[in-house]
């Protein structure tokens, strides 16, 4: 029989080791999955994890790694603040869309004027858009006690409908021959977020790095970060300490919304270029996995986002490669499995497994 014993203190070793263990377990289970699909598991795993980094086309894939990791980092950093405080924003996908719509809206409104002020204005609009969208669940929670999980999630669907409406209506490219979707902002010099496309550098990458550093300082050095951690671990102790739970809800949801909005704006003004009905690819949800995989720690999130980005790119290669033709859904499942294994192995951080021999007494 296995018995669980609560540790007096969370284990330091396992805090760092469980994400690695989860990755290894996911590779094993993923291998089994691929084998079950009739694919060569070793080749599949190698294609996903090795090819983009060290394969013959690595120089092409490496910039992609940054491009895909940047929005994940931005969103996950914001989510991690709330998750630490027990505030569950799972509607980042919606805030991401609204940020993109607001930012792109500003850019498109100025078209074709050229000015150095346009892009900063778009950034502000994107951040504000995501922030405002997140303020809806925040205000409903603080005013009425409405569950933020359900509200933020419902707003994802609303945002998706709005996105469709915009790409078919207001933001549709007048010179687009009737196709849905807006003008391409990446081709509009004053509005693009690209710094150097060949290196995979855009302002979102820079913003992601800044977010990591800022979140690190906030969580380890600042009272606000301390209060966030306190509220998540012991809500009554936080109230005793003097933390105002409502202000925390507004801060955490607002920050994560703004960061998701920024991520959306950087994405729409660079890598995707235009507002279309299929502009969003689920970064807002994948970022939840990233946040947990990174242990809600800024540096961990950076690494987890790179790993997740790798599975996207590697998965893409495996999809197109003729010997594999791995379905896209397999990668999605792979990512879901990762979160499962992480949550399961988390047990080792707070509990000790003890084998007891037979039944006592």
């Amino acid at each position: 029989m296995i018995r669980l014993e609560k540790r007096a203190q969370p284990s330091k070793v396992w805090t760092y080791a469980t994400p690695l263990l989860a990755v290894v377990l996911t590779m094993l289970a993923g291998g089994l999955l691929f084998a079950a699909l009739g694919k060569d598991p070793v080749l599949a795993i190698r294609t996903i994890f090795y090819e983009p980094l060290f394969g013959q086309h690595a120089s092409f894939y490496l910039p992609q790694l940054l491009v895909k990791a940047a929005p994940l980092v931005l969103i996950a950093i914001g989510l991690s603040l709330g998750f630490r405080a027990g505030i569950w924003n799972i509607g980042a996908e919606g805030q991401y869309i609204i940020g993109a719509l607001c930012g792109a809206g500003v850019g498109l409104a100025f078209y074709p004027t050229e000015s150095v002020l346009i892009f900063p204005l778009m950034v502000i609009a994107g951040g504000l858009g995501g922030w405002a969208w997140a303020m809806i669940p925040a205000i409903l929670k603080t005013r009425f006690g409405t569950n933020e999980i359900l509200v933020s999630l419902m707003l994802v669907y609303v945002a998706e409908k709005l996105l469709i409406g915009m790409s078919l209506g207001l933001m549709k490219n007048p010179e687009g021959f009737g196709f849905p979707g807006s003008r391409n902002l990446a081709h509009y010099p004053s509005a693009t977020s690209w710094i150097d496309q060949s290196l995979g550098l855009h302002w979102g990458v820079a913003a992601a790095l800044i977010a990591v550093i800022a979140a690190y300082i906030l969580l380890t050095r600042h009272m606000l970060g301390f209060n966030i951690r306190l509220a998540g671990q012991a809500p009554r102790a936080a109230r005793f300490s003097g933390v105002n739970p409502n202000r925390l809800v507004v801060f955490c949801l607002g920050t994560s919304g703004a960061l998701a909005g920024l991520a959306g704006l950087f994405e729409v003004a660079g890598p995707t270029g235009s507002v279309t009905d299929s502009f969003n690819v689920g970064y807002g949800f994948t970022a939840i996995i990233v946040a947990f995989l990174g242990r809600l720690h800024p540096v961990g999130i950076l690494l987890a986002a790179l790993l997740m980005s790798l599975t996207y790119i590697g998965g893409g290669i495996a999809q197109s490669q003729s010997e594999l033709q791995l379905p896209a859904a397999a990668i999605q499942l792979f990512q879901g499995m990762l979160l499962f294994f992480l949550l399961a192995t988390d047990l080792l951080t707070n509990y000790r497994l003890r084998l007891t021999r037979g039944a006592t007494a």
């Binding site: 600042h222 009272m223 009554r236 102790a237 936080a238 005793f240 003097g242 105002n244 007494a361």
Partner: protein, 512 residues
Amino acid sequence: MSELFAAHGLRKAYPGVIANDDVSFSIDTGEIHALLGENGAGKSTLVKMIYGLVKPDAGTMTLLNAPYAPPEPRAARGSGVAMVFQHFSLFDALTVAENVSLGMENPPAASKLAQRITDVSEDYGLPLDPHRTVGDLSAGERQRVEIIRCLLQDPRLLIMDEPTSVLTPQEVEILFATLEKLRAEGTSILYISHKLEEIRALCDRATILRLGKVVGHANPREKSAAELAEMMVGTALHRPERELSPPGEVALEVANLTLQPANPFGTALRDVSLSLRKGEVLGIGGVAGNGQDELLAALSGEALCAADEVKLHGQPIGRLAPPARRKLGLLSAPEERLGHAAAPDMSLTENALLSANLRKHLSRRGFINWGAARRYAEEVIEAFDVRTPGPHVAARALSGGNLQKFVIGREIEQAPEVLVVNQPTWGVDASAAAAIRQAILDLAAEGCAVVAISQDLDELMEISSRFAALNGGRLSEPVPVDDSLTMERIGLMMGGAHDMEVAHNHPSQVPA
């Protein structure tokens, strides 16, 4: 009398602590047997083994001379062993009848059960309405639910874990009459307590536990309370010394404070008024759940009220949050150590920061000075003799007594002008409790005004200069603690028998 139950060499070890070691004792039929010991002596583990919640590592038990090893509580109940828990095993949102039904093996149909509850409860002088929701009952009534649940199964052995800690003196008398009636009918009772006077009044024999071992058996009627205490603690206890200083000017004033509770089963504060001078200790007694938590919250700032319902040095502070009140010198220490006064998974350094940030200047413009926070935690550890490897240790790793010394010390070392504590020595071993009481008295001697909320009347008599009681959210008029303050009077201040009628004058109808 014949032997009903016996334990032989019971042992139970948890990682790092041996809860019970070679424990042997026996209970006779129709006997009230006391199990006496300090917090942490291993009483709870022992009764959990008897009730089938925990399996012993070694040793055997017998019931009516037959081997007895219940794999689960159900089996224990089936053998005629019933238990009334210290922290009630009740379900707030369910009715009395549903609660009783859950504790029975083969409950009768709902309507029949309700009738039996009414019958049995009246027979034993513990009237109870089976259709009421348990969450709305007083602590004394809730205990009745547990007792009735046990009695309906005609137990041979009834285990009672610290039953009087939630009762007023008058309610204790009713309970004792019930227990004596049960004894007369031949039921055995294992009575767990650390209250010596009670045991001397009620019990036939006593088994004394210390640090997991039986240190002696005694006839409590033949021993003095002091002798029993010495067996229990091992050494003669140091009694706190009280240095009376003349009370100074008024420090804290509460006027007509009325406050709705934060949770649906909480108690509303009604028209609470008090005034407290520097150097005074105001003891506030009362049965649990009569507004203690709410009063602490209203004073600490966790619950806000109208501005001038609470005044500190004449300044209205009712609308101020905890940090602002701390700045003005009003500090507090809540009852629940883990999760309220301290964050269990955070280190002592972080827990020091939790309430001492402002007064000890542990951060500047929001940026934390971790060095200063650690030094402050070390200062508290040093001053209050907190046994811990260091300030990096998580709060939950400390024993109850050590953590309590830390959270009380954390406030006292900030030199408060007014200190509010709730249950300062709850679940703490005797030596730590004595140290904490002494620290409170020393603080008062230095001119701090202290509000001590506690359910331990002995403690309040020891440290308070004035006494008041909370009953249904109302606070009685505070009176000086002197010889005129009898237990009888205290009991009445606490609400007497809480209008729970006594039915002991009925002749018994239950066959023994």
